[in-house]
């Protein structure tokens, strides 16, 4: 590929790195989103809601890839939509490079330009009536780039993601294969020169050989454009491969977050341990004999009291159903479990610090 066709994009004035490399690109604090359920006229008791995201805190550092894993229904995708501000949170705030999202310093419009998303379903996320070149050029046009210039940009991006503009620019989404469409979605996400790209199961629907091509492309683009990724996937192998840090969610809460090798080699939360043991062994002589977890995750409408995992946890003790564990505040590897909290009352916990 001719690298001179596209020069490394210069960040427009609004994209200047404000806080320096040490400051987190995005800080999420106390994020809560409950989806209220419609109730019948005669229902008694308090109104019920699906507690999709229930007090989530995390940081995404500049230039890293944060992997997000968890079972379906644990709130991964809702978190992604909240970060994109496609759904508005009930409570909590997002701080993007030191500025509160939605404040006067960083209005939503400016924030959205710096944050883009790629979805799982490559077909339904493209407008079927637009050629792919128009799809890519659409967002820059909306943000005030002259149409001609936007088209030139779109073509160079197409070239960059490995689709020759001469052959592909005028095609419609249905004329492309799944892998090609996902490349278009990636090009479209990059058209606004974002700093943060959220990849919500972006490679999950692709065949393995195509998945590898797209993953390599994503890693190249990250390097080239200085991007930061939030990478949501249920494929733990892929998450380990692309991420520097990983966040594990269970029933709307962060249960463990840390350096990817730390979490994969030395998982601390019992849920993370079970999740990792659920990965197929790839060795027919060492097959899994016992399912690491039985049953399905509990209902997020009425999550278990105390620690939300205690209903399926092999180490659960009476205290676990009473005390909701806090997320420990170690910087490298934090975990939400009473077994690691000094003086929590769990028999495996370290002794409390003497006063």
């Amino acid at each position: 590929m001719d690298s001179s066709v596209i020069s490394r994009p210069r960040p427009p004035s609004s994209h200047i790195d404000i806080g320096g490399p040490q400051q987190a690109l995005l800080s999420v604090r106390g994020l809560i989103k409950h989806f209220p359920l419609s109730r019948s006229m005669f229902a008694r008791g308090p109104a019920t809601a699906v507690r999709a995201v229930d007090g989530v805190d995390f940081d995404i550092r500049k230039g890293e890839t944060l992997g997000v894993v968890g079972e379906s229904g644990c709130g991964k995708s809702t978190t992604a939509r909240l970060v994109m501000q496609l759904t508005m949170q009930d409570k909590g705030e997002l701080v993007f490079d030191g500025q509160t999202v939605g404040s006067r310093a960083l209005p939503l419009r400016d924030f959205r330009r710096q944050t883009q998303m790629v979805f799982q379903d490559s077909y339904s996320s493209l407008n079927p009536r637009m050629t792919i070149e128009d799809s890519i050029a659409f967002a820059p046009s909306v943000h005030g780039v002259p149409h001609k210039q936007a088209i030139v940009k779109a073509r160079s991006l197409l070239d960059r993601v490995g689709l020759s503009p001469v052959r592909f620019a005028g095609r419609y989404p249905h004329e492309l294969s799944g892998g090609q469409r996902q490349r278009v979605n990636i090009a479209r996400a990059l058209a606004l020169e974002p700093r943060l790209v959220i990849l919500d199961e972006a490679v999950s629907a692709l065949d393995k050989s195509v998945e590898a091509q797209v993953l390599n492309l994503l890693l190249d683009l990250k390097e080239e454009f200085g991007l930061t990724y939030m990478f949501i996937s249920h494929d733990l192998h892929v998450v380990r491969y692309v991420s520097q840090r990983v966040l594990v969610m269970y029933l709307g809460e962060v249960v463990e977050i840390g350096d990817v090798n730390e979490v994969f080699d030395n998982p601390r939360h019992p849920y993370t341990q079970a999740l990792l043991r659920s990965m197929p062994s790839m060795d027919p002589n060492r097959r899994t004999e016992e399912p690491p977890l039985s049953g399905d995750p509990p209902n997020p409408i009425n999550p278990p009291s105390g620690c939300r995992f205690h209903t399926r946890c092999p180490h659960a003790q009476p205290v676990c159903s009473q005390t909701p564990p806090p997320l420990s505040d170690e910087t490298g590897h934090a975990v939400r479990c009473l077994m690691y909290q000094p003086g929590s009352g769990h028999s495996a916990a370290p002794m409390g610090v003497a006063a």
Binding site: E71, S72, S177, G179, D207, K208, S209, V210, E211, A212, Q213, L215, N216, L219, H234, D235, L236, H237, V238, R240, Y241, V242, F264, D265, N266, P267, A274, L275, L276, R277, S278, M279, P280, S281, M282, D283, P284, N285, R287, T288, E289, E290, P291, P292, L293, S294, G295, D296
Partner: protein, 352 residues
């Protein structure tokens, strides 16, 4: 399991040498408007009693078509089938509609990828299982209900009595898939066809379903044909694996043979392109250049040749013959002398 006396095959009858299911030179062609799609181009597959065979491949490789053809589920007007399928010595392709109805269910049954689409949304699960039982066996309502309940217990659905009266949408994905398996086992089939049964499930639930299938297979002496694109899932359940590409089986062998000593260039490339636990950070994934073949315009030679790094002129001229590699492993490739050196190191310590 006293209520339901499943046929008792001891697990040790596994090594029955005469294949119970045999597919020979199967070709399937669909006509869609002006185009014809060559979905299967000469598939040979033999499955013994009590054996689990996995079909691995990417979308469009012909895995699902093979399963559906086995049950004759394709619309006959738009499908041309040639070749031979025998199950227990009977020719499936020559069956009359009446024979087929008796064949589907008691002899061969199928578990689909998406139970929500495969189950009827307006009947309870109990009704659906009872209907199937009473269609094939002379049972009273109560007897059918008791059998359905026993099946639900067998696939370990919690509070089975209550779940029999549930509609499919009221259950979680894992529970629905268990119910689907119960339905497929209702008439005590001898072959279970599983079409990506765990693809839509979470990892924690996937392993539960895989273990359940393995256990049922041992207990009931089932033969299972398991279609998947996930090599990991296949490694958990299959005795033998067949890798499909462009409507042909390109390599076949035991699970360990394929993982430790793959010989077809496609199998090798597929294993190399996976992200796995033993990778160095920053190490690039090895990819397969190009894209899967267009089934409406297949090349005359090896369908992998356009993407194959080892391809020579002869590869493009004719479809390579099936070459035996010893110990039952076979591959469809004429460059096998070149691939022997690529063969170590595919079993990775995947888990921490």
């Amino acid at each position: 399991m006293s209520v339901i006396d499943m046929p008792v095959h001891t697990p040790d009858t596994v090594a029955d040498s005469t294949p119970f299911l045999s597919i020979r030179d199967l070709h399937v062609r669909f006509s869609a408007g002006r185009k014809t799609i060559d979905a299967l181009n000469g598939v040979d597959l033999h499955v013994a009693r009590g054996e689990t065979v996995a079909l691995i491949g990417e979308s469009g490789s012909g895995k699902s078509v093979t399963l559906r053809t086995l049950m004759r589920l394709h619309p006959p007007r738009r499908t041309t089938v040639s070749g031979r399928i025998e199950v227990g010595g009977r020719d499936v392709l020559a069956m009359s509609p009446k024979e087929l109805a008796a064949f589907r269910g008691p002899v061969v049954s199928m578990v689909f990828q998406e139970p929500l689409l495969a189950l009827d949304p307006v009947y309870t699960l109990g009704q659906q299982i009872e209907e199937m039982l009473r269609r094939h066996e002379p049972l009273s309502r109560d007897q059918a209900r008791a059998r359905a309940l026993a099946l639900f217990e067998r696939v370990r659905i919690p509070s089975p009595e209550r779940r029999l009266d549930a509609y499919p949408h009221e259950m979680s994905g894992g529970m629905r898939q268990r119910a689907m398996i119960a339905l497929a086992l209702a008439c005590r089939p001898q072959i279970l066809l599983a079409d990506e049964p765990t693809t839509a499930l979470d990892a924690t639930v996937q392993i539960q379903i895989l273990l359940l299938l393995r256990e049922l297979q041992h207990e009931l002496g089932l033969s299972i044909v398991f279609v998947t694109h996930d090599i990991g899932a296949a490694a958990e359940i299959a005795d033998r694996v067949a890798v499909m590409y462009g409507g042909r089986i390109v390599e076949q062998g035991t699970m360990s043979q394929l993982l430790t000593a793959p010989r077809h260039p496609y199998t090798i490339a597929l294993l190399k392109s996976r992200a796995h636990g033993a990778m160095e950070p920053g190490q690039r994934l090895e990819t397969i250049a190009g894209s899967p073949p267009d089934l409406s315009a297949l090349p005359p030679g090896c369908s992998f040749a356009p993407r194959c790094p080892l391809a020579i002129e002869a590869c493009h001229a004719a479809v390579p013959p099936l070459t035996p590699l010893g110990n039952g492993q076979t591959a469809r490739c004429i460059r096998l002398d070149q691939t022997a050196s690529h063969t170590q190191g595919f079993v990775h310590a995947a888990r921490p």
